[in-house]
């Protein structure tokens, strides 16, 4: 049986991969996908700690995190569509000026 530390290390690795995606990629959709990777890494931490403490609270927090992730994906993708209509580009560097 793997210990709590193993799950936490795996979660840390996944979170770092997600943050690397946000740092390195220049595609708005891939950046949103990297944010989803980070949210899932945190979910894994919540479930592992909940299992360790013997409570269901961790899983309920995961339920709320998933709800927020769904709302974030809906609004974020709507913003991406609106930006793409204006510039025909998904490169975040083409949106440096704060005017249309």
């Amino acid at each position: 049986m793997p210990s709590l530390n193993d799950y936490l290390v795996l979660s840390a690795i996944l979170f770092s991969i997600g943050s690397a995606g946000v740092f390195l990629r220049r595609n708005l959709i891939t950046i949103l996908l990297s944010i989803e990777i980070m949210l899932n890494a945190v979910n894994l931490t919540f479930v592992a700690f909940g299992r360790s403490f013997g409570t269901v609270d961790g899983q309920i927090i995961v339920f709320f995190v998933m709800t927020v992730a769904a709302a974030e994906a809906a609004v974020g993708l709507a913003i991406v569509i609106a930006l793409f209509r204006h510039r025909e580009s998904l490169d975040p560097d083409s949106f440096m000026t704060l005017r249309w």
Partner: protein
């Protein structure tokens, strides 16, 4: 024990490939594979409810939304540095390779730091026996202790839905 390593290896590999792909559709499909592996990890943690929700909501709904937007926008390839140079675009900050190396180093520093801290901390240790996480227990706690956050969640989803419709709507002919 072996299940943990199999699912963990699949999740890490698929997540790395998500970052490495140029085509967003491949990224989305690989992320679904990563979520499947995470769902298996939840089963090894005695959390079947979260595992099922992960498959249905994340892989089934959110990722399909991403896939739909990728196909709607039809922008399959990311612009590379060579494209920018050929087009003669003004030097944007992230187009310089130095900053990209800096970002990679920051991510590497983050993983080294987190793993170093977690291996030294020795939190918890092995899991105790006996799981409490039946679906009935989750439902009871969700609708008693967490009833108010649950109701606030419905307002959040309503706001997100209205916001998405307003943001993605085509402007009226007058103000476009």
């Amino acid at each position: 024990m072996t299940l943990f390593y199999v699912f963990g290896a699949v999740a890490v590999t698929a997540s790395l490939l998500v970052i490495a792909q140029r085509n967003p559709i491949h990224s989305v499909l690989l992320l679904i594979a990563s979520f499947g592996a995470l769902s298996g990890l939840y089963v090894t943690l005695d959390a079947p409810f979260v595992a099922v929700i992960q498959i249905i909501v994340y892989a089934g709904a959110i990722m399909v939304l991403f896939l739909f937007v990728v196909m709607l926008l039809n922008a399959s390839q990311e612009t590379t540095e060579e494209d920018l140079e050929r087009r003669g675009a003004p030097g944007s900050p992230a187009a310089t390779p130095g900053l990209k190396v800096f970002g990679a180093l920051l991510a590497l520093a983050l993983v080294v730091e987190l793993v170093w801290a977690l291996t030294r901390a020795s939190v918890g240790g092995d899991f105790g026996e006996g799981s409490v996480s039946s679906v009935a227990a989750i439902g009871r706690t969700l609708f008693t202790d967490y009833a108010f956050p649950f109701e606030v969640t419905s307002v959040l989803i309503l706001v997100a839905m209205v916001g998405a419709v307003v943001l993605a709507r085509r402007g009226t002919p007058g103000d476009a």
